[in-house]
């Protein structure tokens, strides 16, 4: 390992070291305060390093790279982790969820995401994804006092193990065919039209099944509502924003190497269509807020899949942008839900009645996030959808784009139902929550980001297009 | 692949020889144990059958063979019958990789005095000793008896825990010999035995193998005082005999491995290599008997604490120190 390698892996080292230190300090001081104090600098430091570090002089020898995409997503994941930490402190202490394991596991999950973001071989790509999922197994089940939480964790674990098995089998088949684990070579040897053999195709199908589980695309989506419902709210936000982002990144690492989705276009097309339709239709009938958001996330991953089908015609930029935007939006939504659940809001939409007037700030953030999920203009959601559907039309996927737009129109109903419940219903007496300053700041930042990214997306898009059009 | 008939014949001869020797040795080890224990307790031990009781193993064999083969009601038939074999077979298979003498020149061939010189020999040993757990576990479970089940659960946990420290204590040996092949490990000790470099690893290995053969002070799985006979309470006749012989085969095998890994295998002064090796193996067997005559049984929590909180960390530390030493030495 050389000095330039060290430069590449420094964010990873910071996160891993932070995780270990958080565990140790929690174990020594017997309070979780120290762990949180370790966790913030670790995530922020990693993000900062990814932002400002000069690119390494020599090529990497460790199977990791720090190209633009890796650095952008490292920053994204690290900041997201910091926000999740900020949102979960008060939430956790009110739910009696304590222990240094929680911040340490958040750091470890972020470590996995970052490893995935900078992977150059199929092996480290898969391991990064697995490390992330591993952390999320723990986080999802971490609410020991809440009866459903551990069960949810187990459900997620079983499904995750199945998808990991599929994926690793797929990687093995691909390696068997082309004899290399380096992403570029492997993808070009197997995915380009004409290059593939039946063996490699089998491998790619297994990979696709595995990643469909992680993205909760439709035939593999069944775990999503249960997990979203049982997990602690900030973790649900992290899961929905971060892990979905990482899964999108997983595909974004693979597909552009072949230039096009190639042989995977057809299965992706169907996955996209089914996810958009099923997600939105199921959400229409759902009355519980978290499950509703779960179905909405299935639908949104369908939109991302549309972007991936569109591929080189601007689809990759759109997918990357949408992954970031959706991450921020869903984190904002779940952050607001975390705050509102402390005031006594239950599971159903009706229990959110009149919150808008009693708790104006979190309700406003939730409303903004919901608007963004629908795709109302000045928000990031609108810009993302615009990019996706224009890319799809440009790539000649007109039917898919039309279906997507129709599905979006359909989604207006159920999002607005929540908003209506927030503002237009009679006020019930509620307790005033103590909104910690750090929560206020985190929610505020997320809200501002939703607007800013939506209204002024060009810097981010420029960066992305530089990544994909080398 | 084409096989030389002479090679095959030699191989069969070696297998037959090893089989004969270890089975006889195991039988006489039982006798020796009874004798030595008797001496330690100021008794005379078996001395009725044959001169000095030397035919006692034969008498035992006849007794075991003619006893009723008994299966308790509710026992799981196939597993009950299978378990003794699963206990004995891995112990026998371990002998395949132990080099018991210097290579010989015979009919113009160089004959390794070792059944199979695998280059993953050490790993084969670890694998087989991890498979030996099944005999204990299934035997106790299939007997449909509380004592047996408790014994087998204890056995499972104990063997699993001590396998870890045993495996870890062998890592420095591999680091020093730079090979998993047992003949290489022996060759690397031509100058200086590894026990000189690795006394700690030797101690850890010794304690771990005592636990692996379920010998006092680690005989929790069959603790007579509490569990009648533990996992083989319900066995009788030759099935019990297989468990019993398996245990003594294990002692010989692990003694041989300890000699191979730490005491220079067949290297030694004055005596011919095969004799040298046998002396070492028998010394280990004697040591185990001696310890059995001396120490009381551990309590179960002491056993687990000792394995996980003392032996394993010590073994890890030892690996670390050895690695540093090797790096510094270059």
């Amino acid at each position: 390992m050389t000095a330039s390698d060290l430069r590449i892996v420094l964010p990873l080292l910071l996160l891993a070291g932070g995780a270990l230190l958080a565990l140790l300090s929690g174990g020594i001081t017997r309070t979780e305060r120290a762990s949180y104090l370790v966790a913030y600098p670790a995530t922020l430091g990693a993000a900062l390093w990814a932002l400002i570090a000069p690119s390494p002089a020599a090529a990497s020898t460790v199977g990791l790279a720090s190209d633009g995409l890796a650095r952008l997503f490292t920053v994204f994941f690290c900041l997201m982790a910091a926000t999740v930490l900020a949102l979960s402190r008060t939430y956790n202490s009110e739910r009696g969820l304590r222990g240094e394991e929680y911040p340490a596991t958040i750091l470890f999950t972020t470590f996995g995401m970052t490893a995935l973001a900078s992977a150059t071989t199929l092996l480290s790509l898969f391991l990064g994804l697995e490390a992330m999922t591993f952390g999320l197994y723990i986080l999802v089940g971490s609410d020991l006092g809440h009866a459903g939480s551990v069960e949810t964790g187990l459900k997620y674990l079983l499904i995750g193990a199945f998808s990991a098995a599929c994926m690793v089998f797929g990687i093995a088949l691909i390696y068997c065919f082309c004899g290399t684990l380096v992403i570029g070579q492997a993808v070009q040897a197997t995915l380009l039209p004409g290059a593939g053999s039946s063996l490699a195709m089998a491998g790619w199908s297994f990979m696709l099944i595995g990643i469909a589980f992680k993205l909760s695309l439709v035939p593999a989506h069944l775990w999503t509502p249960d997990v979203y419902e049982g997990a602690p709210a900030p973790v649900a936000g992290f899961l929905s924003g971060g892990s979905k982002g990482a899964a999108v990144l997983f595909l974004l690492r693979l597909l552009p190497a072949a230039g096009d989705a190639g042989l995977l276009r057809l299965p992706l097309w169907w996955l996209a269509l089914l996810s958009m339709l099923t997600g939105n239709l199921a959400a229409l009938r759902e009355n519980r807020v978290r499950r509703l958001l779960a179905y909405s996330s299935i639908a949104h991953m369908g939109y991302v899949a549309v972007a991936l089908v569109a591929g080189a015609a601007g689809g990759y930029q759109a997918a990357a942008y949408y992954a970031v935007a959706y991450g921020i939006i869903s984190l904002a939504a779940f952050g607001a839900i975390a705050v509102l659940e402390r005031t006594g809001c239950g599971a159903t939409v009706e229990s959110y009645r009149g919150v808008g007037s009693t708790h104006a700030f979190p309700a406003a953030v939730l409303t903004l996030a919901l608007f963004a999920l629908v795709g109302i203009p000045p928000t990031a959601g609108f810009t993302g959808k615009w990019l996706i559907f224009t890319a799809a039309i440009r790539a000649g996927e007109l039917p898919l784009a039309v279906m997507g737009i129709l599905a979006t129109a359909l989604s207006l109903y159920y999002y607005l139902r929540i908003v209506a419940s927030l503002y237009f219903s009679p006020v019930a007496a509620r307790q005033q929550p103590l909104l910690a300053p750090v929560e206020r700041i985190a929610l505020g930042c997320l809200a501002v980001l939703i607007i800013v990214l939506g209204a002024w997306p060009s810097p981010l898009l420029d960066l992305f297009s530089r990544c994909f059009n080398r | 692949m084409i096989y030389d008939p002479l090679d095959i014949a030699l191989m069969l001869a070696k297998i037959a020889l090893v089989f004969f020797v270890i089975l006889t040795l195991a039988a006489y080890l039982v006798f020796a144990e009874r004798k030595v224990l008797a001496w330690i307790q100021d008794r005379k031990g078996p001395n009725r059958v044959g001169p000095f009781g030397l035919l006692q193993p034969l008498a035992d064999l006849i007794k075991l063979l003619t006893k009723e083969d008994f299966r308790p009601i509710g026992a799981d038939k196939w597993l009950f019958y299978l378990a003794p074999a699963m206990a004995a077979i891995p112990a026998i298979m371990i002998f395949a990789v132990i080099p018991f003498g210097a290579p010989l020149r015979l009919f113009g061939h160089t004959v390794q005095l070792q059944v199979a010189d695998l280059h993953v020999g050490l790993l084969l040993f670890v694998a087989l000793s991890s498979l030996a757990v099944y005999g204990v576990a299934l035997g106790g479970w299939a007997s449909n008896s509380k004592y047996a089940l408790l014994g087998s659960i204890r056995g499972l946990a104990q063997l699993l825990s001590y396998e870890l420290s045993m495996g870890l204590s062998l890592v420095p040996v591999v680091m020093l010999a730079r090979s998993f092949r047992l003949s290489d490990i022996v060759a690397a000790q031509a100058g200086c035995w590894f026990i000189v470099y690795q006394p700690l690893a030797f101690m850890i290995f010794l304690i771990s193998i005592a636990a692996e053969c379920k010998r006092i002070p680690f005989d929790l799985p069959e603790a007579e005082g509490e569990l009648v006979a533990g996992f083989h309470t319900e066995y009788s006749g030759m099935r019990f005999g297989l468990f019993f012989v398996g245990e003594y085969l294990n002692i010989i095998a692990l003694g041989g491995l300890a000699a191979t890994f730490f005491l220079g295998g067949w290297h030694g002064p004055l005596l011919p290599p095969v004799v040298c090796f046998s002396v070492k193996v028998l010394a280990f067997a004697f040591l185990f008997i001696w310890i059995r005559g001396t120490l009381p049984r551990l309590r179960y929590d002491q056993l687990m604490h000792f394995g996980w909180k003392i032996l394993t960390p010590l073994a890890l530390l030892n690996i670390l120190v050895t690695a540093w030493w090797l790096v510094l030495r270059g």
Binding site: - | W39, D42, I291
Partner: protein
Amino acid sequence: MKIVSDMTALLTGMWITWQHIFRRPVTIQYPEEKRTPYPRYRARIVLTRDPDGGERCVACQLCSAACPVDCISMQSAEAADGRRYAAWFRINFSRCIFCGLCAEACPTLAIQMTPDFEICKRDIMELLYEKEDLLIDGCGKSHDYNFYRHAGIGVTQPRGAGPKEKPPVDVRGLLP
């Protein structure tokens, strides 16, 4: 240092057992070599006779009552001169635990224990000892004790004729 003392303790134990390997065994090879029991050894039970050759046992049932395992049984009878004796007397040695309580209880010193410990039979019924098997021609441990001579009952000799025995007092003659 705890570990040093622990190691020393272990090694001391090993050293002691090592020494014992070379000790002479204390085993006695029983059927060939026999050890002589002490005279007061408590093994097979016998019924003794008094110095005059008569049975000591008066069938008082005290031994039977004292026996913790109830292995002694008998039938009492009385001779024409008023002397009590056991019509039959039976000890079940398959139950006897050789505790010696019967011998303690016996007022006439009839029942006594011997050092003969080799009681072994093929058939368990043979361990049922009848009076004929139990009765020996001897006084056992006290050679000159005869209950009826001391008791002053007037069976073996007229009342008042015993050694150190005062003649019987005529109670009526003492009346004022």
